[in-house]
Each structure stands twice: as C-alpha cells, then as structure tokens.
Amino acid sequence: MPVEREKLVELYRTMLKIRLFEERVAEIYWEGKSPVFNIAADPIPGEMHLYIGEEAVATGVCAHLRPDDMVAGTHRSHGHYIAKGGDLKKLMAELFGKKTGLCQGKGGHMHLFDAGLHFGCGGIIGAGIPHAVGAALAFKMQGKDNVAVSFIGDGAANIGAFHESLNLAAIWKLPVVIVVEDNLYAISVPKSKSTAVKSNAERAAAYGIPGVLVDGMDVMAVYEAAGEAIARARRGEGPSLIECLCYRYRGHFEGDPQLYKPEGEEEEWRKKDPIPNFRAKLIREGILTEEEANKIQEEVAALVAEAEKFARESPWPEPEEALKHVFL
C-alpha cells in the first residue's frame, strides 16, 4: 500500500528530532567533563547512551502506535521515547537531573517514564521484555486492540528474560512485538561472539512465532515490517519478532574509546545513514522540496533549543525529595 505524503514527512521529522536532540545532548554532556573527566559533573551527569544511527528503527515502529499502546524501552531509549511522541523539554530536564524532568530527577536518562504515553524504560538488560508481555496480557484481558512493543538490543536477546517472555507471549498469543535492534555490539562484544545464530529473527522459530530480519537503516523497511507485526497483534493473532540490522555511530556510552570497532566500519555504515538518505529520497521523489526539508530542520532545531533552555533554567529538586516516593 502506498504511504501518504504526510506520513513520510512525519517519519523524516521524527528521525531528525531524535538525531538533533541527541547531537545536542552529546555536546552538552562534555561541558562539565573536561579537562578532567568527572562522570557526575553537570550539566548532564551520569552515563550517557546515545541512539545516533539507529533512528530509523524507533521511528518506523512507533509510527504505527497510538498513545495508548505500550512501549518498553532500554538503557538507550531517548529515540524510543521521542518516536512515541515524547516531550522533549521534560526529557531534557530529566537528563539534567532537574525537578521539571520526566521523573523529577529521580531516574535520569536510563529510567524514563511517561504514564500518558504508556512509555517506560530501564537500566537492567532484558527487564522490559516481560513488562511488554504483561501489558499485552492486560490489553487482551481487557478486550482492547492495543499492542505492546519491547525494544531490545541484540545483546539482550541472550538473557533468560528474552526466551521466557517469547515463550509466554507465544503460548498466550499476546499482542506484543519484540523489536531487536542489532547494532552489532553489546558494549564491546560483537554479536558474532555472543549469539551463534546469524540473526535473532531465526530464534522466533523456537517459539512458534513469526520472525523477520529487516534493514534497520531504512525507515521504510522497518515501517513495513512493523506495520505487519503490529496489525497482526491488533487482530489477536499473537506476538512477532523483528530484528533490525543497524549501527550506533557513537560509543556504547559517551567516553567509550571504541577500540573494539574495526577501522573503516563506521565509514561504511555512514553511507547508509538513515536520515540524509531518506531526505534525499523524499526530495528525489518530489515529496519534499529542498526548502521544505530545510524548514523542517530549522523547526526541529528550534524545538531542541527550547528543550535545552527549559532544562537549563529549571530548578534542582530539593534534597528532601530523595526520601519521597519510596512508598505511595
């Protein structure tokens, strides 16, 4: 089925939003951390795992989701949250540890939560997969046609929770889609050294569910595969597994020397960069003019700048806040 112009432009805008937001985060991150690296230094304290390069995956999948569909993210989830329609200001403020952040500064960049968008993520590998299965169980029991999507890395596909969750989702025929983002590495360990099958999509067979491998640098390929899986889930036909082959241009975390990446690898993957390639395609096909594309770029950059300003000007939480929310 042909995709409407509006949807194509939205895909482009979303990818760009993730990219520009994170490129700015990468710059701000180093502000307080040189010349001597102090991980806890302002303005963005703590570890930082960026999604730059993988934007087509979250974008292509979330384009099919409604706000009341559930997404379980990972430790690298800015992109998932933005693609789900997240609030850039509250997101940025959370990265800064400010009171106005998504979690009032309690969670930081790995622990984002937005009840209104049915979005959550966390720092324990694989922990979100059963959460998505549980949300899918709830949707099914409540007679809703919602779906739950769990994004995970290729590394996470080796943990027990992945296998237990797929099995449970399969036997209970739940509306859940597991999206594996195969960016080739789990920190420094390449997928070839952690997983003996070629693609995680093959593992779906072990649970009796469909599994597909797609080009995660091509937003339309992801969009199509996810569209099928999500529609299938909404129809009550059960779970699916999608593996998206992609690449993270940055280190596992900011400050990672990346000595494990072979020389020239990144350059090869830069040629497949989902964003300039999609922009060129849209212009080539007459969906956007150069001017329109530039205008989108400016609009998105302005949103990011606004989010940064908001985060910088926001107050710190009061120290006593540390004691709140242990119990409700």
Partner: protein, 325 residues
Amino acid sequence: MRKLTFAQALNEALRQEMRRDPTIYVAGEDVGKYGGIFGVTAGLLEEFGEERVRDTPITESAIIGSAVGAAAAGLRPVVEIMFIDFIGVALDQLFNQAAKMKYMFGGKAKLPIVVRTTCGAGMCAAAQHSQSLEAWFMHIPGLKVVAPSTPYDAKGLLISSIRDDNPVFFIEHKMLYGLEGDVPEEPYTIPLGVADIKREGKDVTVVATMAMVHKALEAADELAKEGIEVEVVDPRTLSPLDKETIINSVKKTHRLVVVHEAVKQAGPGAEIAAMVAEEAFDYLDAPIKRVAAPFTPVPFSPVLESAYIPSKDNIISAVREVLGK
C-alpha cells in the same frame, strides 16, 4: 613502596594468580578486549588468551551457573558481574547453587569460585546501577563476602579469595577504583575474616566499610583536632565477620558507631550493632549509632544523590552524639 590504584592492584592480583595457577579462568561481560568497563581485567586477554579470558554474552545466570559447574569439575573461575544491581537475574545460581552445594552434599563439593562485582553510588548512575547490597549476601550461609577499602587490601584479599575453596562474593566500590596506595609487587595474601584497624583511638570505635572507611578516616582526622580519638575498624570481610576485633575495640573505647553506604534498614550495620549489643553490652557507655543511607533507592540527580550518600559530617555528628558532646 610503589603506588597502584585500587583497579591496578586487583589487576595485578588476577595476573599473578593466573600465572601461578593454570586452572584459573576469568569470564564476564566485556572482560576481554575491553579489559572490563572499570579496567580491572585490562591486558589479561593479551597475556592469557581467549581460552582463559572469556567475554560472555549478557547472561548473568549462566556466567555464575557455569562457574559452579566448572569449579565442581576442577577449575577456579573468577567471574565478573558488572554491577551488583544485575545480580538479581542470577540469584538462584548464587544463593541456591553456589552457596548451598558444599553443605547439601555433606561437605564433599569443592567450589572455588570468585564472583567479582561493583557497588556504590557517586556516579549519578541512579537506582539500578548504584546500590550497596552487601547485606543480602551476608545473609547467605555458605558464601564468603569480601569488601576491601584500599589498594593494598584489594590485592591481598583477592588473592586469598581466589585460593579459597569456597564461593566468594567480592565487592568493589566503584568510587574506589582510582584511589592510589602502596601495594607490594610480590603476591601476598590477607586472610579472609580478619578485620583491620585502620586507625587506632581510645574514645570511640567507628566500624566502616568500603568507601565509608575513607570518610570515617577524614572524620577521625577532624575530630582529632578537638582531642577526640576515633578508632576506625574496617571489617574487610563481611562474612565471616571478624567479631573479635570489633568487640575488642568496643571493649577498649566503650562506644560504637557503624557506617556504611547501604540503606540503614536491615543493613550490615544492623548485624554489627546487634552482635555488639549481644556480646559486649556491658562495655557500652552509650547507645550504638548507625550512619547509613536513608531507606530509598539511589536517586539520579546529583543534588539528591549527595543527600543519599552518608557524609563525613554525618559521621562526625554521630561520634559527638555517642560521646555526649
């Protein structure tokens, strides 16, 4: 003497033991080429090869479980769980399998396993990467729990842990990795279960663990200016706990403050305080005080995290309180 960082001291212990004993292997996430995300296993892959230095998938349960099998079959695994917070996904293998087998099998299974892991706040790594969960492991009979505070202790205790025939849970506070100190070049051991008096004093005993040892020493320095002599005792091994050293110190000073970064409720300090109350109550001139983190998960924001971590000033106030000053 030559100075090494805490991370380098651990690295040297691993290297020297691996040279001495070919049955030792190291496994864990990113322990190979990356050298461990905190650098503790740096260079081991180059020296000992992929057979003995194994990068694993993200598979904590199998990392510990396979160590149990390998140890029972004659090897001496030293495995790494990157953050103590991740142990939850592997608890059965640690609590029910590694810790219980020797006992259940009538003392016949030898399980020389070391599980190295990191704990502690201070990096703004938030609730799932900052915990101090040592009390959980102290609660498990059959598991030794080691918690060093200096580079010297780290090396000697790790060598002893590797040579021990029991499973040892070896906890490294991540804010200590960069700390420098004197470390002898030759291999040496520090017996497990023996505390160390890090500073002698006669007025009050402060039992402190891991990173808190250094805050206790700073507090002691400051209090010394007012003529208050604090004795700082570092248990070094939390299970088995060196009761004798702690009790003898309390018998001398008649006052006890226990300091740890774990939350106060059911924390290691509860055990130490109860033990002193049971066995040396008559020697106490004041109620025991505990300085510990509040009963909350570790928050992310730096303002909140520093409210969470016990400070030198908290220790000073507690000491004054038990002294009635």
